[in-house]
Structures are given as C-alpha cells and as structure tokens.
C-alpha cells in the first residue's frame, strides 16, 4: 500500500483503533472501574411463567455489605394499555424486559437487583430476597403458543377479538396470487421451521454507572448506540436526557443484540440509591438465558412458475417467535423474503408470537434469513422441477432497476443480477464434486437503513484532522471514515484521527444497526468535510485577497482556480491552520442529518458441503459469497462483514439451537453446548465484492453488514440435498438430525 498515494477510498488502511486492540489496551465495557465502586447483581426468575405475589427484601438488606436493592417499583412503569414507542421498540415491553413487573415471563427474567461491596455479597444477597410466586402454566414452542388452548402470556393482547399469543401481524400484497397460481405450470408449497439462535457476541453485557451528588449520571457501557442507552435509561429512570452522559465503550460484538438495554437503567437506580458507582457484568449464562436471541420460526412458502422458469406467483406465511414480549422481526421475514425477484403476484404475511422465552433482540438482518431460508429452499425445488440451473432461474427472475417490490419501493440501480452472473462464471462453480459432496446456492436481500447521523470535522492547529462521529464502531467503520476524510481533503489518511463521541460531545446519532453506519456517517462526514474545505478556500482567499470562488482545493492545498485568479503559491492545510487565528478563527464544521437513500443490499452465496455419513456431520468444503457492496471504502472490512455473516449462517444452519428441558429451562446456556462455529469447523471463506455504487450516496456506499447472513441457511440446505438427495425442512441440520434422515432414507431404499 502506498503511503504517498492520496487516493484513500478502497485502500486497506490500518484502523485508527487497532493498536490498542492488539495490545489489550482498548477499553471494553467491563474494563472500567471507579473509586468507591460497588457491584450489582440480578436475581432472576426460577420459573418460566408466574405471578409475582410479593417480594420481601428485608433479609437481603440486612446482609453486611449490601448498599441498595432495586425491584420493578423503582423502575418507571409504562402501562400495558398505552403504546410507548421509542424507535422500533416499545417501552411497555422494555420496562418489563429489564425487570419483571406483574409477573415473570421466562426462566431467567430479572426480578430484583442488589448492589453490594463485592460481587459475591451481591449474589449472596440476591438469594436472601424472598419472592412469593403463583406459578402459571407456560408455553415455550411456537406451534404450541398459537393453539387456542395455549396459556396466554398477556391478557391485554388480542387477535381476532380474543386474548392471544399472536401479538402482531404484517402483510405485503402485490397483484393477485390466486390468479397467478392458476397460470403456473409448476406450483410447489413447503413448510419450514427454524430455531431461535443467539447473536453470540463474545463480550457479555456490562456497564459502570456513576450518579453524582447533583443527580447527573455517567454511564460507561457496551452497546450499539450510546444515544439509545441514554434515551432508554432516561425513560426507565425518569432522569432527563441532559443529565445522562452515555459513554460508548469499545464494543465486543453486538450483531443487533446490543440495540437495547438490560443493565444500564438498573445500575443507574442502584447507583442513585446506594450513593456509589455501580458496576454490573453479565455472566455468559445470563447472556444466554436472558438476552437476545433472534426468533425461531414456522413458515409456509408457495411458489408458482411457468415452464420456462418465470416465477409468476408467490405466497409466504411466516410465524416468528417474539419471546415473552412482542416485537419479533416479521417485517424482515415477510418483507425481504421475495425482494430479490421481480414477481407480478406476491402475498407475504408475518405473525408475531409470544411465548415464555427471553425476549428476542435484533440479529443481523433481523427476520430476513428466516424468510430467505424458506423461499430460497423452495426455489431450489422449482429449479429442479422445471429443469433449470438454480442460478439461471434466479437470474431469469432477478429484480433490476425499476422493479416494484411487494414491500413498497421501486429499485434504483442495483447489482443483484451481477452477483448471479459472477457466481455462474466463478471457478468455484466449476469444481468437480465427489461422493457425499454437494453444491448449493441461495440469494438474499436486506433493506439497509439511513437515519440520523452527526459528525464533527475539526482541523487541528498543526493542520491535521480529528473526526468525531456518533455510531459505535463494530467492525472497522473508523478506518472507513478516515479513508473518506483523507480522500476528500486530499491528505494522507494517517493525518486523520477518528473518534466515537459520547452523548455529550457529538449530536444525536442513531444506533449502529440496519447496516447504516458507513452509509449515514459517510454522508455526515462528507457534508462536514465539504464545509471545512469551503472554509479553507475562504481563508486562502483572505490571504490572497481574491474572491473565494477563485480558489480551488486540490491535493491537500488551496490553489488559485486559474491564471485569472492570480499567481499565488498554493497554501497547504498546515499553513492555513497555522494562520487560522488571523483569518477568522478555528477551522471545523459539523453536520447533523437525517440521511435517506440507503437502498437495499443483495447477495448470492455458493456453498460446497461434504456429509460424513457415519457421524452425520456436515462439513463446509468451500464457500463463496458474491455481494453488491456499492463501494468498498475499506475492502478488508467489507470482506470481513461478508465472512462473518457467512460463519454465523453456518452455525445457524448446522448446529446452533436452544435446548429447553421439561421445566421450561434452557439446558445449554454456555459456549460448550451452544455450539457456535470454531476455527476448525470452517474453511477459508471466499468473497467476491461487486461494486455497483449506490446512486444516492456521495461515495456510492451501500450497507454491507447484514445481507451476508441472509443466504447461508438455504445455500447449505440446498447443498446437502445435492450431496445426499435428502431435503431438510427444519434447522439446525445437526449431526443427530442428519443421521436420522440418513437412516430413514436407507430404510426406504
């Protein structure tokens, strides 16, 4: 990489936060301490469903070392009958999620919390809290929860006029599906299930909260949004937002799971009541029992195609587990499922179903992998039925510029067809496969998001640059921001420092989520940097005593626009910074924007598997993902998003699931039994970045982080069919499931 080449977009620069992260110096949520700090611990429900009759904290309070106790009485209530939206969340559910109110809704649900001088004393005190429960019938599984006789979790929730566990619905319609199916030559309808899976971030949730004598709170925590932490903590504690400073720690993975709070409001109230700073750190078991996961699902998908492979009509029904409180990602499942294709007749429905499990949180393209799994699996069967290569079938029906989607938008220029063409031509597609080996493909779509983003670009007195943005950096966004700023200013990227501001030092910025960060902050940083460049031209104009319009900015310096502007020696950024005081003062600019035009992301994946027919283990032999990435501002971190999404998809498809015992309790709340992919499970994960710039972004950026998790489930499922001739309709396709299917298939022969 050339350090003198001033073209930084597309360069694999070293991330600004890198040196601290490879030396152990980076400060994550659990790494911060304060003098006088005490520890918080949470008492969790031993039952999956029970009314809370009484909570007696007397004994716990008298244990030496205990400083404060919190129950739901100390947290702001949001009555069940009045919606209280905050973004896509509802504070009615959030207050009940962080601390059970009327009843406990899952095993592990917080019931009370204690602050004490040590973690051990806090934990011991939790055991002394006496809670009287009235145990209720409970329901864990989706198919049970929607039966008429199922125990009802919330009497205020009704469906079709009756109390129900179906808490919400969503529908997308285009054309007339019934008429469409009549015109089809081949119609295939299949049902599928998937299991809830956890985001699996390695860093457990943690926070440190200090409440000062004037009532002002400072929160250090790991989240995907310091402004979300501030807003939710404010609403749940009653402290006004200007009195809360939320400082984003480095975040040890989130994948959507850290877009809501669990600990911060509790620690804040404990800090208020105890007069001490309070630190809280979840155990891995707490994380597995009481945070995330994403939904399990039950889907039915029907696809009708003409003889030539033209898809004419599709219908999808997606039931998603919300966990104990409403809010599953039905929009992602029902909205994204058919979105890669140009189909005249579409009917897609989603149902949000509550049951006695931990409330789901966002997970990388929430809901979309569930929808795509079903649709891309049926497409594989359609391709076989009509006798067309599965990639050619997708290409024939691919959405393109101008396609009107069932979920609303008309696409601008998109690169979906290019992902399919690249897959068809790729050497991977030509590798010969052996016995028990198979190849599968699948595609996927994710909406992507824009929204609020703030940035500040300041020129230092010595002529370098400090950029502050407001989105926590989960995977290298600071490096990309440095590339963009260096490119616009025409200076070496090493002269640009990029920081993530806290809620007191940068303007409101929405969550790191929806693959929005580089899209939105790229716009805010570009806008700010362009203002800075305008100022720099004006300062040069003052020095030269000419019109600012006669000054251009090129290669890091102000130059006269042409011979008519005058013969002046160019003024470098350093010189203009040095003379800033005499020309008008400090140089810097900010922007606070609501960004639009994110536009969707498309990907096609190709996967080769080999099945160990003795053990039932499915091994991934090779994997290539093809994605329209818009513009790869920092190619390494784009590839990293693609590879990371694939690895999570492989885990979801092959192994990951919660195992509940007969008492409604998760039996595998740890990394040993909740089996995420380890290094030896995977091959190299090849990536093909296709750059079809987003016409609505100054650098052409499309979100890239989430769509990589959309195609893998079906790609792997289709590959297993190609290897074994067995089609699976449920996840995970774990060794015992595969072995059983092999036995049934052998018995049938």
């Amino acid at each position: 990489m050339s350090k003198t080449n001033n073209k930084w977009i597309g360069e694999r620069t070293i991330r600004p936060d890198g040196a601290d992260k490879v030396t152990g110096r980076a400060s994550f949520a659990a790494d911060t301490t304060m003098p006088g700090m005490v520890w918080g611990s949470v008492l969790r429900s031993p039952h999956p469903h029970a009314n809370i009759v009484n909570i007696d904290t007397t004994k716990a309070a008298s244990l030496p070392g205990v400083k404060a106790i919190v129950t739901s009485k100390d947290i702001v209530d949001f009555p069940l009958d009045t919606p209280a939206p905050l973004g896509i969340q509802d504070m009615r559910w959030m207050t009940r999620n962080i601390m059970a109110r009327e009843k406990v809704l899952f095993h592990g649900h917080p019931v009370a919390a204690v602050a004490a001088t040590s973690e051990e004393i806090a934990t011991e005190a939790c055991k002394l809290i006496e809670v009287t429960y009235e145990i209720l019938p409970w329901v864990i599984e989706l198919e049970e929860a929607i039966k008429p006789e199922a125990p009802i979790l919330h009497n205020t929730i009704e469906f079709e006029g009756k109390p129900s566990n179906i808490a919400g619905t969503l529908e997308h319609k285009k054309g007339d599906v019934d008429a469409g199916f009549l015109k089809a030559d081949t119609v295939i309808e299949r049902s599928f299930t998937t299991r809830p899976v956890h985001q699996g971030y390695i860093e457990p949730h943690a926070c440190l909260v200090s409440v000062a004598a004037d009532g002002k709170a400072t929160i250090w925590s790991s989240s995907q949004g310091q402004f979300m932490v501030r807003a939710m903590t404010s609403m749940l504690t009653g402290i006004q937002q200007s009195d809360i400073r939320a400082i984003p720690a480095e975040i040890g993975g989130g994948f959507g799971g850290k877009t809501i709070v669990y600990l911060e409001p509790i620690a804040t109230v404990l800090a208020q009541k105890s007069g001490h700073p309070v630190k809280m750190v979840m155990s891995r078991e707490d994380v597995m029992r009481a945070t995330g996961p994403t939904s399990g699902s039950m889907s039915k998908v029907k696809i009708g195609a003409k003889k030539d492979g033209t898809i004419i009509s599709v219908q999808g029904t997606f039931y998603l587990q919300a966990g104990c409180l409403p809010g599953s990602p039905i929009r992602g499942a029902a909205g994204c499922a058919f979105a890669p294709y140009n189909i005249p007749n579409v009917h897609s429905q989603g149902y949000d179903v509550v049951s006695n499990r931990s409330k789901v949180a966002a997970y990388r393209a929430p809901g979309a992998p569930i929808g795509a799994y079903a649709v891309e699996s049926v497409l594989d069967e359609i391709a076989e039925a009509v006798g067309i290569d599965p990639l050619e079938l997708r290409l024939k029906n691919a959405a393109r510029e101008g396609t009107k989607t069932a979920h609303g938008p008309v696409y601008p220029r998109i690169g979906f067809a290019e992902t399919l063409e690249a897959a068809i031509e790729h050497p991977h597609n030509k590798v010969t496969l052996g016995n028990f080996q198979g190849r599968g493909v699948a595609s996927g779509f994710w909406f992507n998001a824009g929204g609020e983003s703030s940035a500040q670009v300041n020129i230092t007195e010595d002529g370098n640059v400090v950029v502050t943005t407001g989105h926590p950096d989960v995977g290298g966004s600071r490096a990309s921001i440095a590339n963009i700023t260096a490119e616009l200013l025409g200076i070496d990227y090493q002269r640009v420092s990029v920081l993530i501001g806290d809620t007191a030092t940068i303007g409101y910025s929405n969550l790191t989520g929806g693959s929005r960060v580089l899209f939105a902050s790229g716009i805010a940083v570009t806008n700010s940097t362009e203002k800075v460049i305008k100022t720099l031209r004006e300062r040069a104009a003052i020095i030269w005593d000419i019109d600012p319009d006669a000054v251009i900015w090129e290669e890091g310096e102000a130059r006269p626009a042409g011979p008519n502007a005058g013969m002046f020696e160019p003024l470098k950024l350093e010189e203009l910074a040095d003379r800033a005081t005499e020309t008008g003062g400090p140089i810097g600019a900010g922007a606070q924007l609501n960004t639009t035009g994110a536009e969707g992301g498309f990907a096609t994946h190709m996967c080769d598997v080999e099945v160990d027919i003795e053990l039932g283990i499915v091994r991934i032999l090779r994997y290539t993902s093809f994605q329209d990435v818009g513009r790869a501002v920092h190619p390494s971190y784009v590839e990293g998003q693609m590879q990371g999404g694939v690895a999570q998809g492989i885990g979801w498809a092959l192994n990951e699931e919660y195992i509940y015992n007969k008492d409604g309790i998760v039996d595998n709340p740890g990394f040993l039994d909740y089996r995420m992919p380890v290094c030896s499970d995977l091959p190299m994960l090849d990536t093909v970045m296709i750059e079809v710039p987003n016409p609505k972004h100054p650098q052409g950026v499309r979100g890239v982080g989430e769509v990589p998790l959309v195609p893998p489930l079906a790609a792997i499922r289709n590959a297993i069919y190609n290897a074994l001739g067995i089609r699976f309709y449920s996840l995970p396709m774990s060794p015992p499931v595969v072995l059983e299917a092999l036995e049934i298939s052998q018995a049938a022969e």
Partner: protein
C-alpha cells in the same frame, strides 16, 4: 476466608498480590493488577478470550486459580509487544484486518504466539485446530488464519 499471598512473575516483572483461595487468575489479572487485556467471554474455558501463558503452557486464566501463579512465569497480552514495537503477529493482525470488534483478539494473539513458538511452520489445518479453543464471532476466522500463516512465513523468512 483469609487471603493468600502470591509471589509470581508477570510479563518479566516480579509481582506480588493477595487473593481469595477461590479467586481465578483472570479476576486477579483484571481486578487486582489492572491487566484488563485478558477478557472474560464465558468463565468456563470455552471461548479462550482470557488466554495467557503459564510458564510454557497456554491456559485459560478463567480456569486457573490466582494461587497457582505462585513461583510461575505468567505472560499476558500486555507483555506481547516490546515496548511500542508490536510483535509480528500483532502487526499482521492490524495490516490484514484480522480483527473486527477486538474482544477475542488478545486471547487469539496469545494463542497464536504459543503456536508459532512451538511450531514455526504450521499448516492451515494445524492453525485451525490450535485456535479452535478461541471463539471469534465477527471474522469467520478467515483473516485470522491467514494472518497467522503469513506471520509464520515472515518470521521464517527473517530467520533464514
């Protein structure tokens, strides 16, 4: 319980501390010695984020008692660089984007260094099985494995 007095050596410096008999080495490092580079991802030895060297053995410090450090030589991520000069593995991780969030990185680097110290010419398969005890949820391991293989080659090249 009376606290135990432990004399040990950490990253080349003599160190003494008091700890509870049941206190893990990870808690000692993080809470008593302010060496927070070792991370707790699970507390059960499954994720490897707390990897350290106990003499010449790679261990999960969450599975080791602080008292076991008596008389030992401990190496943590904080001792991997030579002052401000990064170890070749650290430098390669930066150059090849072998980290995203960075929470597994300290443990991954400690484990990778242990591998290269023992086996300077590992195959891809050997790297993958050696690092199978270090979970990473961000990268899919691709860039990590490449970084370790590239570093091994680089170190061998310099040695020749």
């Amino acid at each position: 319980m009376a606290k135990m007095h432990v004399s040990t050596n950490i990253n080349g410096e003599p160190e003494e501390f008091l700890c509870e008999p049941n206190e893990t080495m990870l808690d000692v490092l993080r809470d008593r010695l302010n060496l927070t580079g070792s991370k707790e991802g699970c507390g059960s030895g499954d994720c490897g984020a707390c990897s350290i060297m106990l003499d010449d053995t790679l261990v999960c410090s969450c599975l080791m008692l602080g008292a076991e450090a008596e008389g030992a030589n401990i190496k943590t991520i904080e001792g991997m660089a030579d002052g401000l000069t990064l170890h070749p593995l650290q430098q390669k991780f930066l150059e090849t984007a072998a980290l995203q969030c960075g929470i597994c990185t300290p443990g991954m680097l400690v484990a990778a260094k242990a591998l290269l110290d023992e086996n300077p010419e590992p195959t891809e398969t050997e790297v993958r099985f050696w690092l199978a005890g270090n979970l990473c949820r961000c990268t899919g391991y691709d860039k990590i494995v490449r970084a370790v293989l590239d570093t091994a080659e680089e170190i061998r090249g310099k040695a020749q």
